[in-house]
C-alpha cells in the first residue's frame, strides 16, 4: 500500500484550470451575447470561447454541477449498485419508503439491462434528461461489474447521455482507470473528514481487502483512499465534485479544512449538505439524537468556504433512483413494470431540438437578469437580505404560495441576486401535519427571509406572513426570478433610504428533515 502523508496537500496540477471553468459556468450567457453589452461573445472573454470545448460540454448541461443548468436539465439515477463497503452513521440500509427522498433510499433495484432500458424510456419521455448517474443505493464502486456494465450498455444505445457516479471513495483508486475508459466525465466523492479521529465518529467500519476495520484505523484507510482517488481523477482530467455532510458538533468546523484539502487536490465544486437524521429513519445519528444544522448554520459554513472554491447550494439530496429535474421526482412513472411495457423510440434529433429550445429559454433568462442588474449600478448599501421564491422552474416566479413544496432562497445585495439554497416545506408522510400547521411550517422554513415571491397567494396566509415580518410579493407573477428580485430590492433600498421603512435583520430558519412527498 502506498505510504502516505495524505493530509499534506500535494498540489496536483489539473489538466484544466477548474476555477476558469466554474467561472464560465457561473457566468454562462450562452454563445451569442455577453451580458449587458449585447455584443457577440464567441471567442471573447465572457463566453464559451475561452474554454476547451470538451470541458464546456462536460459542465454546461449538468444539473448537479451548475445551479443555473439545474432549472433546465434533468438527471436520473439508476439503482444498480445495492452493495456498500462502508458503514456511515447517517445511513440505514433497512429503510425504504417510496415517499422518502434522500440518498441511499431506493424502491426497487435494477439489473444493468433493466437500467439501460429505463434510461432509454426516460430519455425519450423527458428530452431535457441529459445525465445518468449511478449513486447506489450502496456504493457504485462496491458493485463494479454492475456499474460498468450499465455504463457500457448506455454508451452503446444513448451516446449523447453523460455518465457520472457518486462514491464514498474507498474503492476509487482501484477503478479510476476504468472510469476514464468508460468516459465517465463526472465523479462525486462524499468526503466528510480528513482527520481520522473525526472520521471515527462518522464511520463505524469499512470493509477493505477482505477485512472489516473499525475506529480510527477504518477512517484512516478511507481518507487515504479518498485523497488518492481524487488526485488520480484530477490527473486524468475527470471533473470531481465533493459532497460533505455537515454534522454539527462532529465535523462542522472541520469541513473548512476538508474544503482546503479537496480544493488543493483539484476538486472543482464543493457541496456541503445538512445532515438528515430524523429518528424514524433508524440511523445511528437519528437514534442518538444528533441534530442537523439550522439554515443559517449551513449558509454560514457554505459562505466561509466560498472564498476557497465554488460551493454548490442547490443539492436536493435526492434518492438513488431519482428521475427528473432536481426537486421534482418522477421515478414513480418509470417502475420496471411500466418501462418494460413501454414503446421506446429514442430519437436523437428530437432531443437535440428540445435542448436547443432550452438553451434559448436559458439565454432569455440571463439576459433579463443582466438588464435589471444594470439598474443597480451606482447603488451603495451594505444591506444584504434573503428572499424566498415559489417556482416550478424555468427561472420564473410561477408557483402559487399554497402549492409550493419548496422555496428557492436568493441573497440580495447591491451586487445582485445570488442563489444560496432552497427550503423544503412539504408535509410529512408520517405523523400528519394538518392543514392548519402547514403555514407555520412554511414560516419556520423561511423565517430568515424578508419577502416571499409568489405567483398567487390567498388573503389569510398573506396576513399571517406579514405578521411574521415576511412580505408576500405577488406583483411579479410569471416573471423572471432574478430580474424581479433585483427590481424589488432596488425599491426596498429606496424605501430604506427615504426613511419609509427600517431595515431589520431576520432570525434563523429550520431545515426540514422529513420525507418528500412525491405529489402528483
Amino acid at each position: 500500500m502506498q505510504a502516505s502523508t495524505p493530509h499534506e496537500p500535494t498540489e496536483v496540477t489539473p489538466v484544466v484550470n477548474v476555477e476558469d471553468v466554474m467561472q464560465q459556468v457561473a457566468e454562462h450567457k450562452g454563445c451569442g451575447t455577453s451580458g449587458g453589452s449585447g455584443k457577440a461573445s464567441c471567442g471573447s472573454a465572457a463566453g464559451q470561447g475561452d474554454l476547451p470545448t470538451e470541458i464546456w460540454e462536460k459542465v454546461k448541461n449538468h444539473p448537479c454541477y451548475s445551479e443555473e443548468a439545474h432549472h433546465h436539465y434533468a438527471r436520473m439515477h439508476v439503482a444498480v449498485a445495492p452493495a456498500c463497503n462502508i458503514q456511515c452513521n447517517y445511513c440505514n440500509r433497512k429503510y425504504d419508503c417510496a415517499n422518502e427522498s434522500r440518498p441511499g433510499v431506493v424502491s426497487e433495484k435494477l439489473t444493468p439491462e433493466q437500467a439501460a432500458k429505463k434510461v432509454l424510456a426516460v430519455a425519450s419521455t423527458i428530452p431535457q434528461m441529459t445525465v445518468l448517474g449511478i449513486a447506489g443505493p450502496g456504493d457504485p464502486l462496491a458493485n463494479p461489474e454492475k456499474t460498468f456494465k450499465t455504463f457500457e450498455l448506455i454508451a452503446k444505445t444513448a451516446p449523447d447521455i453523460k455518465l457520472c457516479l457518486s462514491t464514498n471513495g474507498l474503492a476509487l483508486p482501484d477503478h479510476v482507470d476504468t472510469i476514464a475508459r468508460f468516459n465517465v466525465d463526472h465523479v462525486t466523492i462524499t468526503i466528510n473528514m480528513v482527520d481520522p479521529e473525526i472520521g471515527a465518529k462518522i464511520y463505524p467500519w469499512v470493509f477493505w481487502n477482505h477485512k472489516r476495520y473499525t475506529g480510527v484505523e477504518a477512517a484512516k484507510i478511507l481518507t487515504d483512499h479518498q485523497m488518492r482517488g481524487l488526485e488520480m481523477l484530477t490527473e486524468r482530467g475527470i471533473l470531481c465534485k465533493v459532497n460533505s455532510v455537515m454534522i454539527p458538533g462532529v465535523n462542522d468546523k472541520h469541513l473548512v479544512e476538508v474544503n482546503r484539502a479537496v480544493k488543493s487536490r483539484g476538486a472543482f465544486l464543493h457541496n456541503i449538505m445538512p445532515l438528515i437524521s430524523a429518528p424514524e429513519h433508524g440511523t445511528v445519528f437519528g437514534l442518538t439524537g444528533q441534530r442537523g444544522p439550522t439554515a443559517q448554520e449551513l449558509k454560514a459554513l457554505q459562505d466561509s468556504c466560498e472564498g476557497e472554491m465554488n460551493m454548490m447550494r442547490h443539492c436536493r439530496q435526492c434518492r438513488a433512483d431519482a428521475v427528473g429535474l432536481l426537486g421534482e421526482d418522477r421515478s414513480a412513472e418509470f417502475t420496471t413494470d411500466k418501462i418494460m411495457a413501454m414503446e421506446v423510440n429514442y430519437d436523437l434529433d428530437t432531443r437535440k431540438a428540445y435542448q436547443a429550445k432550452v438553451e434559448e429559454e436559458r439565454l432569455a433568462k440571463v439576459t433579463a437578469k443582466q438588464e435589471e442588474l444594470s439598474t443597480l449600478a451606482g447603488e451603495m448599501s451594505d444591506i444584504k437580505l434573503l428572499v424566498a421564491v415559489a417556482t416550478k422552474g424555468s427561472g420564473l416566479i410561477n408557483e402559487h404560495f399554497g402549492h409550493a413544496k419548496e422555496f428557492q432562497i436568493y441573497e440580495l445585495s447591491t451586487s445582485g441576486a445570488k442563489f444560496v439554497g432552497h427550503r423544503r416545506v412539504d408535509l410529512y408522510c408520517q405523523g400528519g401535519y394538518g392543514e392548519e400547521d402547514s403555514l407555520e411550517t412554511i414560516i419556520r422554513a423561511i423565517n430568515d427571509c424578508h419577502a416571499v415571491f409568489v405567483a398567487k397567494i390567498g388573503g389569510c396566509p398573506k396576513a399571517d406572513l406579514l405578521k411574521a415580518g415576511i412580505e408576500p410579493v405577488d406583483q411579479f407573477a410569471h416573471e423572471f426570478i432574478e430580474k424581479s428580485a433585483i427590481g424589488w430590492f432596488k425599491s426596498y433600498l429606496d424605501k430604506v433610504n427615504g426613511g419609509e421603512i427600517e431595515h431589520i435583520q431576520r432570525g434563523d430558519a429550520e431545515i426540514r428533515q422529513g420525507a418528500l412527498i412525491s405529489a402528483a
Partner: protein, 74 residues
C-alpha cells in the same frame, strides 16, 4: 456448513455474494441464502467470515447452530 443469513434482517444488498470464497451465497426469494454444503466459515481463506464482515446489518450472517461446525481438512 456453519453460517446462515437471517432472512428477516437481509436487505438483499448483495454485498456478501461476491465476497464468498466458496461461491456459496445466492439470491432466493428476495433475500440471500448460504448453501450450507459449500460454506467453510472462510477457514483457510480469510481471518473472518466475509459475509458477516461486509454485511451492513449486525447479527444477520451468523453461525447456524442447527448443523455441525465446519471441520477444516487435516
Amino acid at each position: 456448513m456453519p453460517l446462515k443469513i437471517i432472512s428477516s434482517n437481509c436487505t438483499s444488498c448483495s454485498a456478501c455474494e461476491p465476497e464468498c470464497p466458496n461461491v456459496a451465497i445466492f439470491e432466493k426469494g428476495g433475500t440471500f441464502v448460504i448453501n450450507p454444503k459449500k460454506c467453510t466459515e472462510c477457514i483457510g481463506h480469510f481471518d473472518a467470515p466475509q459475509c458477516a464482515a461486509v454485511c451492513p446489518i449486525e447479527d444477520t450472517c451468523v453461525i447456524d447452530d442447527s448443523v455441525p461446525r465446519y471441520q477444516a481438512p487435516a
